[in-house]
């Protein structure tokens, strides 16, 4: 009896092991899977990110593919629409891993979706590089294979606060942000930092994502006689806030909004866009000297040539995610998830995106600790509105316009 059981167990075990090994696709390809928001409200930024992925893939494949341990692998993508909702994310990622046999994963866009996808990727032990998600919560849940590319949310307004303090230490700051996970995470960090630096937040309120008219809020800011405004949320509110601040002549001298002003579309606001600053994961003008891969300028040119539109940081993040994964695979000399994860844990490099280093403490594994945000501001240059980097001092391309 025992003999038969052992045999049975061995056979099962072998079958399981054979099934569980990531299937090396017949024709030397590495499959990377992800979901993108092709419909729904995250559509715009998710598409930019996906283009970054695709540019990286096309460039690698053009040079023959990824070089791993003597062999070359072409990169193949498998992706589905998650509709900007997490209802099907687990189903889609399971399909990507089990049916499409993806060996590596990129994350969906936005932190809420990342957390849901992580449950699946962790179960199957697949490395997932996350871009487009700045919240830290997904990384504090006890993961081993998650790696964050973006600076976490609590870094977002750190630079802006410092820049403001350097310009006007006695500024009264109004803080008005959207009631959504990302903006809230930023808000909590800002409060902590403000207390630490002894800066006063005269107004501190959140507004619902479905707000259509910011008039009353702006009147509140005016009544408050605030010198500076931090806040916003995702795109549409930032643009509306900026426009109404201008239309209502709110007279706020320093305005830093999240996300919205980063898109080149923001310039269509005309005069309302002037002086608005935005914390950014990356700007085309940054001058990092990369350890490998193109410089920011080269990347910008290649992207603009291909897509006829300048890249923002979502696209740059997508591209960098590819670069970092490529580097780790090549360093590990293998496509085994565990080995690549080890290589990622040891990663401390600079690419066109900036410095990338991941936290390895199991309580916050994968959190990005090397990357710094920059602060960009829309200024008039030769009659046209352009974005200039104004902070940190090391990376700036223009003076702060106050």
């Amino acid at each position: 009896m025992k003999f038969a059981r052992t045999w049975f167990g061995l056979v099962l075990g072998a079958a399981f092991a054979a099934g569980a090994t990531p299937a090396l696709a017949a024709d030397d390809t590495i499959t990377i899977g992800f979901t993108a928001s092709q419909t729904g409200k995250l559509n715009n930024d998710s598409t930019a990110q996906m283009r970054g992925f695709e540019l990286w893939r096309d460039e690698v494949n053009a040079t023959g593919g990824l070089k791993v341990g003597g062999k070359q692998y072409q990169i193949k993508f498998v992706s589905y629409d998650d509709e900007s909702q997490n209802t099907r994310v687990q189903q889609l990622y399971t399909r990507i891993i089990v049916q499409d046999k993806a060996q590596f994963l990129f994350s969906p866009y936005s932190s809420g979706l990342v957390a849901t996808a992580a449950i699946v990727s962790e179960q199957y032990g697949r490395v997932m590089i996350t871009t487009g998600g700045a919240e830290e919560k997904p990384y504090r849940l006890g993961n081993k294979y998650l790696f964050q590319l973006y600076s976490p949310a609590d870094q977002y307004l750190a630079g802006a606060l410092q820049a403001l303090k350097a310009t006007n230490p006695k500024a009264k700051i109004a803080f008005v942000y959207e009631d959504d996970p990302f903006s809230k995470a930023v808000a909590q960090a800002v409060r902590r930092q403000a207390t630490k630096e002894g800066v006063a937040l005269s107004l501190d309120e959140s507004y619902s994502g479905s707000t259509t008219d910011f008039g009353p809020i702006i009147n509140k800011i005016i009544a408050d006689k605030a010198d500076a405004l931090f806040g916003g949320g995702h795109y549409a509110d930032g643009a509306t806030l900026a426009r109404q601040l201008h239309d209502q002549k709110a007279g706020v001298k320093w305005v830093t909004l999240l996300v919205a002003p980063d898109s080149p579309n923001f310039a269509t606001l005309g005069d309302a866009a002037r002086g608005i600053s935005v914390p950014s994961q990356w700007e085309p003008q940054v001058s990092f000297r990369p350890d490998f891969g193109p410089t920011a300028a080269e990347f910008t040119k290649r992207f603009t040539d291909k897509y006829k539109i300048a890249p923002g940081y979502h696209a740059a993040g997508g591209y960098a995610a590819g670069l970092i994964l490529q580097h780790a695979i090549e360093q590990a000399g293998s496509i085994e998830p565990a080995k690549v994860a080890e290589a990622l844990n040891k990663t401390d490099v600079t690419t066109m995106f900036g410095r990338t280093k991941f936290a390895t403490d199991p309580k916050e594994h994968g959190l990005q600790i090397g990357h710094e945000m920059v602060l960009a501001q829309w200024q008039m240059k030769g009659g046209k509105l352009v974005k200039e980097v104004i902070w940190p001092k090391a990376a700036k391309t223009a003076e702060i316009a106050y």
Binding site: T211, D213, A236
Partner: protein
Amino acid sequence: MGMTAILASILDGVLIGAVYGLAAMGLTLIWGVMNVINLAHGAMIVFGMFGLYFLASALGLPAYSAVPISIVSGFACGVVLYWLAVHRIIGRPVLMSLLATFAVNMVLVGIGTALWTTSPFNVSVTLPGITWGDYTFTGTHIMAAVLAGVIAGLLYLFLHHTRVGKAIRAVASNREAAELSGIPTTQILSMAFGLGVALAAVSGTLIATMFPFTVLSGDAYQLKSFVVTVLGGLGNPAGALLGGIALGLVEGLTTPFMPVSWTPIIEFGLFVLCLMTFPRGIFALSKG
């Protein structure tokens, strides 16, 4: 907060409220005339928004010339939609109309997303505003409110002093009787639907002169339109204008006194309360 601040907020609320009212007028008209709740209402508002964008930004026409164009093209669209989706639903249970119009909404938003993605669009319209101390009332808001009032007035004249308008009211009040007195009710219904959509479209155009928008912006205004319709009374366009102003006032008044995140709670709480206590609407004037 000082008195000036509160007054400023009240005035702002009234201005934007007029536009909310205009946005809801189409919904309440269609509902009142043919007992159809048009869940594609939001999509039609977006249609008007994009209309402004293409006419003003792409073709470079002066912004407010888009207003009459919106009305006309909205009407045409509405008539087409009526024949495509609504005609067979008339007289059937409410659920059917909800689903049919919801389906139309899905299709329109899907096409919109495929064509324009969900990126924001902005049309820069500048008009001198009125400044009062620290507070400015934006020119575009004032213009939009004025136009909303004008259109509401024109609607009233249309419904009470033209043959078609009176026919619409007759059909709304009793379809069979209207049919018996020789009114071609089906045609009238299609025109009423067209009118409702035209109102939605023109409100979208006006909104786009004030705020940036995306393909998905219609949802928020559709929800507000429901609230306004309930406040103002079903099928009552004048009530809708007043209801809209009431909603705007609520938004303007709550903000100075409490954290802004509570505004929607108050809005929806009021909505449910209103439904429970005044199902016929606070301004339950006689129909039309």
